[in-house]
Amino acid sequence: MVGALGSEVVVAAPATGAMQLLWLIPALPLAVAGVNLFAGRKLGKGAGWLAVLAVLSSFGLAVASVLQLASLPGDARLFIQHGFDWFAVGNFTVAVDLRLDTLSATMILVVTGIGLLIHLYAVGYMEGDPRYGRFFAYLNLFVFFMLMLVLAENYLLLYLGWEGVGLCSYLLIGFWFEKTENANAAKKAFVTTRIGDTAMLIGLALIVAKFGTLDYAAVFGAAGSVLTKGTATTIALLLFAGAVGKSAQIPLHVWLPDAMAGPTPVSALIHAATMVTAGVYLVIRSSVIFEISGTALVVVTVIGLATLLFAGLCAIGQDDIKRVLAYSTISQLGYMFVAAGLRAYTAALFMLVAHAFYKALMFLGAGSVMHGMHEETDMKKMGGLIRRMPVTGWTFVIGALALAGLPPLAGFFAKDQILEIANQTGRQWVYVLGTLGAIISALYIGRLIFLTFFGRARTEEAEHAHESPWVMTIPLLALSLGAAFLGVLVQRSPEGPFSIWAESAVGTPPAGEFGLPVAALSTIAAAISVLTLAATWAIYASGRIDWMALRVRLAPIQRLFANGWYVDDYYSTILVAPGKAAAAFTASVVDAKIIDGAMNGIGVGTRRLASVGRKLQTGYVRTYAAAIFLGGVGILVYLGFRI
């Protein structure tokens, strides 16, 4: 099967109504980012509301455009808006064109919709911060770049957004740069993702070499005839390397847990709901190339599975509430890549949307907990918080149960469909490992909610925690509705309304007749999540098991998980230490000895020569006169001999 884009004939929809304003969707946040960057200090509290207004307007326009897109017949759901020509080199031109199809439509709804709620929350969360205006400037700038990334009609514009969101991620992780760890975390995130981005750039160069263009329509249209299997594999893997960096998959996952140094709204928006899913978007968008390769799809699945299990285990060992969620995000992104690798793009996209809801919800909930606990993030010092902060607590529980895959919440349908497709298309190893991942997910998230919100309060702060203001709880309530009902409403099976909506851009999910019946698979999935959650309740909240003692007994494993399997340590031994040694070598040997040596050598040489040559300058007039005279004689003699 070739993806839907492969056989696509570009029929642009009539450019009328809301679609004509498509360019405004990214332009508004950009404009407000500019205003807040330069005048944010003067605006004071108004900076936050202005930013909310910008994203609200973008969201409104996005909804209007998507409604118009949805009103078109299924195979005509494509609209390309030509902005302007960016640059041209010979025959190679790049235009700033925006593409609205059902894939990018879904993405802009997630980015602006969830972005709006997070902006609203941030108005309350960031109150009193000395760099309030700048925070919202960065946040809006991020929204702009993210929208460019998903709306781009060619790879270069996507890459512009891709690097832009990386920059905003860097700026926002290091937003409180006064603390060295925060600045280091920002640097680590930037450098680690650059590794993937560089590979991706090489991939884009290869596309230019093969196709002479970066436009999606042209590339995907010609891919079948231009690419051999080997070339397709190379390009797909290079693009996937970019996705691995951005979406924090093994082996470039190390930056995401540290990125939690940023303010919590940033973790929710960038490091859970939107930016980290850009890698999944890229794979879905480039599915034509991945499918020609075949091998690349297997790599995607394997990396996804490995990350899913690895990060899940790490999440179990974390004590910091935000780090649990960070590893959980890495793990859930693994599911999305597994789905994409199985060619179940609609399932991957639905997982992306559902995850955006419940993970943003939980990050914001964690921020609310920190807000009420004087910035405490250690779960060991919490407990019983649901009595003190009921809105935060219950919405968080909804998010957690969605992640654990409890029916009928969104996460259940999202995860179940991926496993179902794995089972039915005969990839039992994916199904078994994916189910294992589901057990691990339920385990760490059960541990998190029972340690944080249930049981008895373990510290004075937990005893006196307070609920957050309404600007922070309203987004929680809104997101919890999505986390709860999204699945029931739009995607109860892999052939649900969401798939039908998305298939004009990403194709239909593969059907298979292997494996167990659907009902049995759903029952297994539901039973697993219920049983695992019950087990975590028994350990952490029933009071019958001393979990601290258990933790001490399992200390080596606990430490292994808590330190993320020591991957950071391996990297610092294998990569960072030699890197620093090489830098020290170039600084003290190459630079100091060779380069400076050459420079100093020229200086010393000139001085030596001069110390001999200056003896000629005696200061006696007659020496000079004699020199002139002898010179004159010399010239005459020479001329005389020449004649």
Binding site: R614, K615, Q617, T618, G619, Y620, V621, R622, A625, A626, F629
Partner: protein, 101 residues
């Protein structure tokens, strides 16, 4: 009968040699200056001699130019010598050797 050109050239050479030796061995700036004038006039003599030989007035015109330039040069040169004298109370060129290593 015309005086052969060789006589003029020999006289001119003698004058030029005298001037050169004067420039090279004298220490008094004024005397060096006079020696330079001697050299210039030796050259002027040559110019005029050749002018006569070729019946071409250009040589004599050039000699005039040379004299004018020499006069201008004397003005500048004497001014320098005067200011050197004011500063050092001497016109010995060996005393004025600050511009060296």
């Amino acid at each position: 009968m015309r005086t052969p050109i060789a006589y003029f050239l020999i006289l001119s050479s003698i004058l030029f040699a005298l001037g050169t030796v004067g420039v090279l061995i004298r220490r008094n700036a004024l005397l060096i200056f006079m020696s330079v004038e001697l050299q210039l006039n030796a050259v002027n003599l040559t110019l005029i001699a050749f002018s006569r030989m070729h019946n071409d007035l250009n040589g004599q015109v050039l000699a005039f130019f040379s004299m004018v330039v020499a006069a201008a040069e004397v003005v500048v040169g004497l001014a320098i010598i005067v200011s050197v004298y004011r500063r050092r109370q001497t016109v010995d060129v060996d005393a004025a050797r600050d511009l060296r290593w």
